[in-house]
């Protein structure tokens, strides 16, 4: 069913004013499981996610899908590190991507109601999204991404400003989405979360994929000393 994958990046580089931000990246994503991207601040996690998503300019190399790029774009969503709220009600934020995909209004409303309940925002459907708390905005952004039932979702530190309970709720939703066949690519600073969610781990350092391994292997026996140091919580240069 999943015609998007594999996603293949070959020597992909994104640069700004001649300075390479990320790359060259060689990466293959098949259609299953959750890929967690970790690395220190400024390593290029956000940029890598944007690059794969098609939101950052590909300066060099190639990124190809198993289907036409336009179709691939249509089947993915992105949850930003800093949530972007439309200046509309919570409900209309949820409905927006559905309407953009051409779903009738009544159907979209039902689905929005459903998702608001799943992320615990059902009491706030009529409230303007920009006045929600940071955590509520993140939940809304997540629901708005998953509501179109995408085949692939990029999540850039989706739990950064959530408390423990909200994080559990979000992780449960992510687990469910993942077991329903949605491929997740997620960046995080929380090693506990990385362990809980990851099937594969991509360790970024200075804009390069420093190490890429199945999660079981990466967390028990990282190959590079930098990855081992990062896992111990040491400062990695």
């Amino acid at each position: 069913m999943s015609t998007l994958f594999p996603l293949v990046a070959k020597g992909a580089i994104t640069s700004r004013r001649g300075k390479v931000l990320v790359g060259p990246v060689d990466l293959t994503l098949d259609g299953r499981g959750t890929c967690v991207v970790i690395g220190p601040n400024g390593a290029g996690k956000t940029t890598l996610l944007r690059l794969l998503h098609g939101a950052a300019r590909l300066t060099k190399g190639s990124i190809t899908w198993a289907c036409p790029t336009e179709q691939a774009r249509h089947n993915q969503a992105f949850v930003f590190q800093r949530p972007v709220m439309l200046r509309r009600s919570v409900e209309e934020n949820l409905i927006y991507p559905l309407r953009a995909h051409g779903m009738p209004k009544a159907e979209a409303r039902d689905l929005a109601q459903n998702w608001a309940e799943r992320v615990g925002l059902q009491e706030m459907l009529r409230r303007p999204a920009p006045v929600l708390s940071g955590g509520e905005q993140q939940k809304l952004a997540l629901a708005r991404a998953l509501i179109i039932n995408p085949k692939l979702v990029f999540l850039d530190e989706p739990c950064a400003s959530l408390d423990g309970r909200a994080m559990r709720e979000i992780e449960a939703i992510l687990h469910e989405a993942s077991s329903n066949g949605t491929r997740l690519v997620l960046s995080t600073h929380d090693m506990g979360q990385a362990r809980r969610l990851a099937d594969t781990v991509v360790f970024l350092l200075n804009g390069q994929v420093h190490e890429q391994a199945p999660s079981s292997k990466f967390f028990t026996a990282p190959e590079t000393p930098q990855a081992a140091a990062f896992l111990k919580g040491d400062i990695v240069e």
């Binding site: 998503h53 939101a55 972007v84 439309l86 200046r87 509309r88 009600s89 953009a100 303007p128």
Partner: protein, 234 residues
């Protein structure tokens, strides 16, 4: 001082007795300006949105030109419209010179750059906020534009009101293309100019107060509409 007082009392009586000529002139002012406002907004707002989301080579130039056109001298606009509409001009056959339509055309040309420039500024701010999300959602150009226009509607209302203010107080262009013809193209501003010329300062002042009152009432009415809409939704 006497003139001011005299003008105010004359204006007061003209208004409370609903002086037929005053009402006619005021209504024509309102009609011409509101039509010009609707037409100009229909042109300027989508144009501003397009300039916000489309990246094309001449974009910066177009924006700079728009900003410069904000300061377009109305008299010159009037002159150009006059030449275009005059019997020997390219649109002479339409017979529009010295009609309210000609006045609407002149006003539209004067306020489109103003509305578009102000609208573009607020749309650009909103676009900076929305850009990543809408790009990520892979929405069409049309959806981007309609989303921006809808979500910035309150700021756009302010832009349109600025256009309204400029249009209703405009006299130079309207005088030239309308001709200030009694019962046909006379509006508040041209009537004021006429009465001032005739030396009837009191009446001119009275008309001036009516003009100001009209502008304030329309502004308040539109703001009030905007507010009830917001409270109703949120």
């Amino acid at each position: 001082m006497v003139d001011l007082w005299d003008g105010m009392s004359r204006a007061f009586w003209l208004v409370v007795t609903l002086d037929a000529e005053l009402v006619e002139i005021a209504l024509r002012s309102l009609q011409v300006t509101l039509i010009a406002l609707v037409v100009a907004s229909a042109i300027a707002l989508p144009m501003a949105a397009l300039l916000t989301v489309r990246r094309f080579k001449a974009r910066r130039t177009v924006i700079a030109v728009l900003n410069a056109l904000m300061g377009l001298p109305p008299v010159v606009v009037g002159l150009v419209v006059y030449v275009l509409l005059s019997r020997s001009g390219p649109f002479g056959v339409l017979g529009l010179l010295f009609t309210p339509t000609a006045m609407v055309i002149a006003q539209v040309i004067i306020i489109v750059p103003l509305i578009a420039s102000i609208a573009h500024q607020s749309l650009r701010d909103l676009w900076a906020e929305y850009h990543d999300l809408l790009i990520s959602m892979n929405v069409t150009q049309f959806q981007k534009i309609s989303t921006l226009l809808w979500d910035a509607r309150r700021a756009l209302l302010t832009a349109s009101l600025a256009g309204f203010g400029r249009a209703i107080g405009e006299v130079g262009a309207i005088m030239i293309v309308g001709g200030n013809i009694d019962h046909s193209t006379r509006v508040l501003t041209t009537a004021i100019a006429l009465e001032t010329g005739k030396g009837d300062f009191a009446l001119a002042l009275g008309l001036g107060f009516v003009l100001i009152a009209l502008a304030i009432v329309v502004n308040l009415a539109i703001h009030w509409l905007g507010r009830t809409e917001r409270e109703g939704r949120w």
